[in-house]
């Protein structure tokens, strides 16, 4: 192979990667549709807001599970951390939401960074247990240190308008949804950029085969710590949003079922292409709304049944069927699912 051939191959690969990273029209329609939904259905802004935040939370799990293949049963740890950090900051008088958001994400990121090295040892089972253990440990800490967290009573606080202009909370449900939408979109765009960057490609290599990725010269440990920290920050941001828009935090943020729910959301939507978490979260929230209106006590049963069927039927086959459907509707967009 001559030098010019190599250069041509490199150029082709570069062009291919750039083409993949380009925003496609279904994506633009997707985001505009959400925005329109907030304005068209102001009475449902509460549930839309909830779905947006859940979507951000699921996106944080997709970053580690979908991109890097790290299984976690403790993503709720960072949701709770972000929520409590934002709430405590607000109760100290720093009521600006944007500040609380950044603080919540930062605190979660620091704890993510500290706990990430625990994930590098052992297999999937060890990771499941470490993540689960960390989230329960933090929940217990929040429970014990009630002088700062309010303990089992939770913590009530008031919040200033966003950037001093837009009041959020119970009186400003639509503003709250818009605030969450803007945050979600910005963070999503960053995540999308990450996924298409060399860093994202290295993570995909780690996901497929960590040993080989290491042999190719990828520093797998550092990449995994980095993405885990970023995902923690995302979950922290989701928690901060949740705290600010509901203006209450309670210990159930750390619960096991939060981590299980978010995993379910991601699996419903499909992991690995970033939109899965958002779609799954919306489907999950709407489903829960419908089912719990019908049978308020036993809705978990139907969620469980859905999970069992999903696994037995084969997640891949469902994703493949969805991809075929997309290919029928929009042939050009079909390649996304595989990325």
């Amino acid at each position: 192979m001559s030098a010019s051939d190599a250069a041509a191959v490199q150029a082709r690969i570069g062009a291919h990667l750039q083409r993949r990273a380009r925003w496609r029209w279904p994506e633009i329609v997707f985001w505009l549709a959400i925005l329109a939904l907030i304005f068209v259905l102001p009475s449902r802004a509460g549930i839309i807001n909830e779905a947006l935040i859940a979507g951000l939370f699921a996106l944080s799990l997709d970053l580690i599970l979908g991109l890097a293949g790290i299984v976690s049963l403790g993503q709720a740890a960072f949701l709770g951390l972000g929520a409590y950090a934002a709430a405590i900051l607000a109760s100290w008088g720093f009521a600006e939401p944007a500040l609380g958001l950044a603080f919540g994400a930062a605190v979660a990121a620091v704890v993510g960074l500290v706990s990430a090295p625990l994930l590098l040892r052992g297999g999937d089972l060890t990771r499941l247990m470490v993540t689960l253990g960390v989230s329960l440990l933090l929940g217990e800490l929040a429970n014990r240190n009630s002088w700062i967290t309010g303990g089992a009573d939770g913590l009530n606080f008031s919040i200033a308008p966003v950037l001093g202009l837009f009041p959020i909370g119970f009186t400003g449900q639509r503003n709250a949804a818009l605030y969450s939408f803007v945050v979600l979109f910005i963070l999503f765009a960053i995540a999308r950029r990450l996924a298409h960057s060399p860093f994202g490609l290295a993570l995909a290599a780690i996901r497929e085969n960590r040993l080989r990725a290491g042999a190719l010269g990828v520093d797998t440990s550092r990449r995994m710590v980095a993405i885990y920290t970023i995902a923690a920050a995302y979950a922290g941001a989701a928690g901060a949003l949740l705290a600010q828009t509901t203006q209450i935090v309670s210990l159930d943020l750390f619960d096991f079922h939060r981590s299980a729910d978010v995993m379910l959301m991601l699996i419903i939507g499909g992991a690995g292409y970033l939109y899965g978490g958002l779609i799954g979260a919306a489907a999950f929230i709407v489903l829960r709304d419908v089912i719990s209106a019908a049978t308020p006590e036993y809705w978990e049963f139907w969620i469980g049944l859905a999970l069992v069927i999903l696994v037995l039927a084969g997640r891949e086959s469902i994703v493949a069927a969805a991809a075929r459907l997309i290919a029928l509707v929009a042939p050009r967009a079909a390649g996304r699912g595989a990325a």
Binding site: R121, T126, L128, F301
Partner: protein
Amino acid sequence: MLTILLDGVAYGMLLFLLASGLSVTLGLMNFINLAHGAFAMLGGYVTAILMNRAGVPFLATLPAAFLVPALLGVALERTLYRRLYGASPLDQVLFTIGLVLMAMPIAAYLVGDEPQQVHLPAWMDGRIEVHSVGIGVYRLFIIAICGAIAAALQIFLIRTRFGAQLRAAVDDARVARGLGIDVDRIFAIAFAVGSGLAGLGGALAADVVGGIDPSFPVKFLVTFLIVVTVGGSNGILGALFGSLLLGVLDVAGKYYAPSIGAFIIYAVMVVTLIVRPQGLFARGDGR
């Protein structure tokens, strides 16, 4: 002091009984069964309901608390679990979480949300004094029965033909099949025994944890997982020592340092994972 030690040993023995089934499925068969607590819950319910509604004496309910979860375990293993033996850990986790999410509302629907109490017979409820050390009779009973089961399991696994076949099937299912071992049957029996032991553990634990309620599978899931992590996943003895260590530390910690007591078992787990990821009592490199 000795009382606390004995309480801790009894608690550890209970943990062992509850988790031993998990150390078979998870440790030996390498299947992540998060629904293990549901079988324990079932065992607890069988005992509580037989006692409270049918008036069966406590001891007589224990065989049923073993058999019912064992039968359910075998049925589920044959129909559902076996499809996932080769699946990725993520699929196994999702599947068993699904089972847990289904089990809890079913329990709440059939039995109700309030904890079902197991009332011990009077002769078990008392304490005896040995050299001025107070020992709960029920604690002694737990230690005796769990110790016997642990010994039986260890002998069963090491000395019998079935134990050898199970270990062979676990090490390499394909070669074991080639040698004429009926791997499917072996796994089904192992799963049934594990589920049954969990059920028995649930029945015995009902009094200690203040009744069985629908949230039992989730509440104790973490404890089971910690036991298996600390004990190491290959072998009964590892699980036994791990359980005893955790039981004693937990009870002593809650007694001497109540403010940090709840953290001790988590701390033990984290330290274990850092120092010996394969488990404190595991031989070789583990999995």
